[in-house]
Amino acid sequence: MFESKSGILLIGGLGFFLLSFLSNVVVSVLLYQDMPEQSVEELAEQNTNALYLWQDLSVRYPEAFKKHFGEANEKTLAEALEVGHKAYVGEACWHCHSQFVRPVSNEESRWGAVASSEEYQNELNRPVLWGTRRVGPDLSREGGRRGNDWHAVHFFDPPSVSTRSPMPKYPWFFEGLSITAAMRRLDTMAVQDEAAGELADEIRSEFGETDEELTKSASKAWGMIRKQYPELAKERELSPDAPNKRGLAMIAYVQWLGSWLEQYPLYEQYTPIAEQIANPLE
């Protein structure tokens, strides 16, 4: 039996394999069979934490957002989670970041609640993204810890916000700045730098106030910016202020991680973004 073909094929090859499948896999399947699997839509639905930051993205990068996702609602959030998840898998983020917090090694103090099964019973964990190596920190409680703009700059060039970070740059999550976005930047810079305000006024008086007018004369306007602010003009090609579809989705995905937990850091009451803008002091 131990040296015969049938013994080796049936007992060793099939039998022991099935035994291991039973004991390792079937047992855990039976244990979790009552825990329903959530779809991506269900994950986005009523998820005010994630929606809050999703709307924040739509205000922060309005042009890019409109172009790639349209409006910030549950439906587009679900779409973004799917796109972001795909990029997370494809870029092998999960080979540098884990997504589970262990009950040992002070991990609770570093990241918060220990991982539990319900968290992983959903479509975005098909296959599960626990990971086996941490070059960077665990990300399962990452959502809400940083602002959307921090993430954008971090993906664009990690060391610029995280000194000496070995995380790779992801410039392909971004596109070039539009002239209207560049004008908004000049307006912001004007707070500290009068020349920027003057330049903005000059451009507007020459080419017009509205976005359409500015877009029409974009090259000339950029030419004027290049003379005074060559650094800003470079962002016409590629800018951390202009995430593309994957970039927006990646940020949304990272902000979603942990959004289902009590400890989610944005503990303010959820107020739709339009109301917030209308009453900034509330």
Binding site: E3, K5, S28
Partner: protein, 480 residues
């Protein structure tokens, strides 16, 4: 190739026979063996490129940052997949084409099928590479092959099993140890691949999918690579030492111990996850059990070497084989410790595990392939190696490189583990191991240099074989 030729073992099974007594020319398609080996070595170089890129990224010396198709993460996937499915699978297919007809005295089922498998497998590997570079990976560690290639790869594995399985099934008389391993491995590889690539993608999510993922990572090494590789060791070592394996009984223990205990351990990759503790403990205990089995196998091979120890110095393939076995023993001794929950607290997620993986994939299995190739290339080219000293360089650069890499990553892992535990800022753990990563980079470069030397030697040996007149009936002196 009958039992009578091996008096010491005639009760049990025939040991592999001496080359010269066998008319292997009709049985073995040597050209195909050569092709598989060359394809394997090509992918090994690709894999090195991926590893090098990631190593440079970690020490922040990556000169190619910011290029999408050179994304270090994606190339990290190429690195492991090119080794597993490119280098190791192709080299196995080559070695099996050499060994199985000799052990069964029958050719493989069909020569055209063999050529078809060759082409089909390269299509699988190349399209995997293309898919990974384009960001289409599947989130299964060691099985990142894009989902649309999985069915094709599985069909390829089925064809391999049929092509090699048929002569084994058809042969009469007792089967030598090697064939037990091969037969079981064909079944296991197919089942493992199907399980790991389809179940977590289409049927399960969450914790139970994690259990499958653990089982898959583990079975891929334990039920695909390990049995085929040990089978080949049982074949090549007695031939080179010109004596039968030391103990038939121990080889039985080794085979059945592996078959029973190895598959039970998958969950040990995910201790302290939401997978229930009792399942984790089961995996831990069977892991420790398999170390005893491994010890019997290693003892058996050292028993075989007993009395011929000088072969390790003079005979290069034997030196490669036994180096791999020593490192195998180190790997497994390490397993028995690191599988415990107390070790896991510190070393899980760290470079310790990366060191462990390199030790087993390069230090053991690749090293064994280099030994087989050192033995077989001269026989395929029908001439001796162009340079024996380059063979030595190949050995020392590879063996030295992997030893240093293993040590530096193990230490780095311990430091990382304690840094994290101390709750210091994350960046401290990265700054703290930077020096180890630099050493790792150079260790890797040494391994790469070793293989470049090897490829050069192969090329020159091939040129030499073209220049010398076709060998006369006298066998060339192979020097190894």
């Amino acid at each position: 190739m009958t039992a009578e030729q091996v008096p010491a073992n005639n009760q049990t099974a025939a040991a592999p026979t001496d080359e010269s007594k066998l008319d292997a020319a009709h049985l073995v398609d040597e050209r195909l063996v050569l092709w598989f080996f060359l394809a394997g070595l090509t992918y090994l170089m690709v894999s090195f490129a991926g590893g090098l890129l990631m190593a440079l990224q970690l020490v922040k010396w990556n000169p190619l940052e910011g290029v999408e198709i050179l994304s270090p993460g994606r190339w990290r996937l190429i690195h492991t997949n090119a080794v597993a499915y490119g280098f190791i699978a192709n080299s196995f297919l080559g070695a099996l084409h050499w060994a199985i007809p000799r052990l069964t005295l029958k050719p493989v089922l069909s020569k055209p099928l063999s050529y078809f498998i060759f082409v089909a497998w390269q299509v699988v590997v190349l399209s995997t590479a293309a898919g990974l570079i384009l960001g289409e990976a599947q989130a299964v560690e060691w099985g990142e092959t894009p989902v649309w290639i999985d069915p094709l790869a599985l069909a390829g594995l089925a064809l391999v099993a049929i092509n090699f399985g048929t002569p084994i099934i058809q042969m009469k008389g007792p089967m030598y140890v090697t064939l037990w391993y091969f037969l079981a491995a064909f079944v296991w590889t197919f089942l493992t691949y199907a399980m790991g690539n389809f179940i977590p993608e289409y049927y399960l999510s969450g914790t139970s999918a994690g259990a499958v993922a653990g089982l898959f990572i583990h079975d891929l090494v334990g039920l695909f690579v390990t049995p085929l590789a040990w089978g080949l060791m049982y074949y090549f070592v007695p031939i080179l030492l010109k004596k039968p394996i030391w103990s038939h009984g121990l080889s039985l223990v080794g085979f059945w111990g592996l078959a029973f205990f190895y598959p039970l351990q998958g969950i040990h990759h995910f201790l302290y996850t939401p997978i229930p503790d009792f399942l984790e403990y089961g995996a831990v205990i069977s892991t420790i059990a398999v170390e005893f089995v491994v010890t019997t196998v290693v003892i058996n091979f050292f028993g075989t070497l007993w009395g011929s120890g000088r072969a390790v110095v003079t005979n290069l393939p034997i030196r490669w084989f036994y180096t791999g076995m020593v490192l195998y023993f180190v790997t497994c001794a390490q397993c028995a410790l690191q599988v415990t929950r107390s070790f896991q607290q510190v070393i899980h997620f760290t470079d310790w595990v990366v060191g462990h993986a390199h030790l087993v994939m390069f230090g053991v299995f690749s090293v064994w392939f280099f030994g087989m190739m050192t033995y077989l290339f001269p026989r395929l080219f029908k001439t001796s190696w162009w340079s024996r000293s380059l063979c030595e360089w190949h050995f020392w650069l590879s063996a030295g490189g992997i030893t240093v890499m293993f040590l530096t990553l193990t230490l780095a892992g311990l430091f990382e583990g304690y840094f994290w535990n101390s709750l210091r800022p994350w960046q401290d753990s990265i700054d703290g191991v930077w020096g180890f990563w630099v050493v790792r980079l150079f260790a890797g470069l040494s391994m790469i240099a070793g293989q470049l030397v090897f490829v050069l030697n192969i090329f020159m040996t091939w040129r030499k074989s073209k220049q010398t007149a076709p060998a006369s009936s006298a066998a060339p002196a192979y020097a190894t």
